[in-house]
């Protein structure tokens, strides 16, 4: 790789400034995992289908395996590591996944949580069917989705009650 193929980037990750000099072809997922050691964003298929690497870019869900790190320059990235409070307390959505057994092997869980985080921020009036459609870009091979949908609905109810 030549020097010209590298570029310095600065971005916010979970509200904190991060900087790195990266190869221009480095994916955002590899940047998060290798440069910033944020390994909660998982790589399942590496071509944008399984949803395991879903993160939020300026609040919108993206597949971190399909996006280059340089495309995130100057923008705000949210990952699963930023969901819990500074004291480590799980947020409502995380707690609901725990309570409703919305996970087994756990590999797809971060991507699913990020998809729902975007979804819930957009539309508080989601139905169960909306949630099933919203999650249809995230493959879970273990649960059969029942625990996941139950957890999402429970979290939604609890969030609404706080409004």
């Amino acid at each position: 790789m030549t020097g010209a193929s590298r570029r310095a980037i600065k971005l916010q990750v979970n509200g904190k400034p991060h900087a790195a000099e990266v190869d221009v072809r480095l994916t955002l997922a590899d940047c998060l995992r290798q440069e910033f050691k944020l390994t909660g964003t998982h790589l399942g298929c590496e071509h944008g289908v399984c949803g395991a690497c879903t993160v939020l870019l300026d609040g919108q869900s993206v597949r971190a395996c399909l996006m280059l790190a340089v495309q995130a320059d100057g923008r705000a990235v949210a990952t699963v590591e930023g969901l819990a409070g500074a004291d480590g307390k799980l947020n409502i959505l995380q707690q609901a996944f725990k309570d409703h057994h919305g996970l087994q092997c756990g590999f797809c869980t971060p991507g699913i949580l990020m998809t729902l985080t975007e979804c819930f921020a957009d539309k508080p009036d989601l139905t169960e069917q909306d949630i099933r459609v919203a999650l249809s870009g995230n493959i879970c091979r273990c649960t059969g989705y029942q625990g996941i949908v139950d957890a999402a609905m429970d979290a939604l109810r609890k969030m609404r009650s706080l409004l």
């Binding site: 998982h42 395991a52 087994q104 091979r141 989705y145 625990g147 949908v149």
Partner: protein
Amino acid sequence: MPPEVVDVPLRIVRTSRRHDSATRHVSGSATYIDDMPEPHGTLHLAPGGAPVARGKIKSVDLDAVRAAPGVVRVLTAADIPGTNDVSPVVGDDPALADGEVQFHGQVVFAVVAETREAARRAVKLAKIEIDAETPLVTVDEALSADLNILPEYRFTTGEVGAALAASPHRLDGTLRIGGQEHFYLEGQVALAVPGEDEMLVYSSTQHPSELQALVAHMLKLPQAAVTVEVRRMGGAFGGKESQAAQWGALAALAARLTGRACKMRLDRDDDMIMTGKRHDFRADYQLGFDGEGRLNGYDVLLSSRCGYSADLSQGINDRAMFHADNAYYLPAANILSKRMKTHTVSNTAFRGFGGPQGMMAIERAMDDIAWTLGLDPLDVRIRNLYGDGRDMTPYGMRVTDNISPELIAGLERSSDYRARRKAIAAFNADSPIIKRGIALTPVKFGISFTNTFLNQGGALVHVYKDGTVHLNHGGTEMGQGLFVKIAQVVAEEFGIDLEHVKITATTTAKVPNTSPTAASSGTDINGMAAQSAARIIKDRLTDFAASFYNVPREQVAFRENKVFYGNHSVAFSELILRAHVGQVSLSSTGFYKTPDLTWDQAKAHGRPFYYFSYGAACSEVMIDTLTGEMKVERIDILHDVGKSLNPAIDIGQIEGGFVQGMGWLTAEELVYDAKGRLLTHAPSTYKIPTSSDVPADFRVALFDGANREATIYRSKAVGEPPLMLAISVFCAVADAIHSLAPGRRVPLDAPATPESILRAVKAVAQH
């Protein structure tokens, strides 16, 4: 059966507990192998696959690969100091192809480079010349060429020829059953760290002990110098039972040759091309039955695509035969299994291990009988169930724990099957294009490894001076909740809270010579071993407390984080401290072997299973007869897990297994071209069920009953059996198609994709 003796109320087992890693999973802090901090200077491997499916290797020019940026070493078969084999049994799976290739994508070389990307880029520079021969790709091609990978095998009971001849009704048919890609979300991965004449391999494997042995053979090291560790897998489903070994072995080879830590994480396309899948089958059968729909004779030939090597195909095809009866009594049967060799990747273990394919054939037979006689398929199924005087399997094991009739009756009621069947008939009468269908099908699944010696488990338990417990056992965690269940068993034994039991990574250094976590047996064997280890320590503590406090042994009890003696109690942690000062050993191994198993492979006779797990599912579907589109509308399941150790975990296994089975039978289609190349090598072309494919109306209940056998707290295995509940979806689709032309048999093959449904719709409509 021996009675269950429980002298204290149970507090920890038989309660729903969260997965032990739940907090980590929702926080992104659960460490998979690719998340571990890499040792300084870690190198990365990428595999180079064969460009054609079959032929002699003429030349392999790797000069450009070696010269590529970042490349440190290139591995070929010649670099292996010991045995070039990563097979589980037979010795026919080279880690690196030598002389010939037998499937498209077979690994010929591996690049070791400074980065994964550099390794993958370099792979593309290889020039491999192969004297290509025409591959045998399908079961039919292999049958025509009579090319077997293993000898055929047969079960017989009664005189099937005479039974067929004497039957008032006879049918024959063929059913094709597709394979299935595991698509564990975490792909194959291993990290090998070289030590002082030692090798430590972190591997996403269901079978650490096997990888340990293979690495030792490959590197000419004693097994004592090789350690394999796995904390968790991101799913496995059988795909990491034998076929995680190649990647761990190659990483270890690279680490041995370079002296540096080496990681191998497969790209998803490579993973799907280079690792085996569920066997696809062709079932050819003849039925003889009476006017009530009862089978007199069943003659079935089960032919499977095993791929280029034996892998676990013997056990898998045996298990297909063991489940050719499913829950039904066969007065006369001939069950013949042919294990076909093809020039495709070696097919391997996948949840159910051949059982699902064996069951599919007889479930089609039940539908065939019902369609021919104009009966409700459920009535045909019920009439054929095992029962009094009809309890002998085709392999000489008596069914003594049969709960199918009661369980099916319960589901028939709770699912409102009869009324819904009527409503569906009325709907279909008024709906020319959209058709509905319903089916209620049973599962009876044999629990134990049919290779009897594998039915053993081991554990290691330490109690530390603060009263906390270190738990280790031979099972591996792949998401199924094994670790929390076994921790529950140990916490129950010591009468302490679950939080005081520290669950630790599976490693060959703590519990040796383990069986794979497979055959649904993880909890049965390792739970008993862990209980045994805990009991040994508890016995010593009881002796110590009786002596120390001067009370009879019978007055010492462990519960609520305390140890009670006479009318007094002491904190568990305090007793531990006193016992330590009293020079009591606070560590023990535990061991268990499943009792009462016998299997004579030559005579095809014995008791291969400790018990059976039962279940039934009722599925309702809707199809569009113009497009082939299918939607599952409602699912009702009643499933037997004995006395559940952890109902929430078990229900998760049932739901997940069902949906995975539904994917196998309705959506997931593996397509190979005539040259043996897998065309569906990524989730973009291979359709896996998503949340919107699963109906909102999904009702799951646990059957209320205890295991008749003395398993751990009378629970039953749950990993595999629920997958086969999804046969009800396939049969419901066939039922919907059948409504187009009642009385005609529906030639629906699996998977029932829209194309497959349309073919069957056209076939019944054309008559």
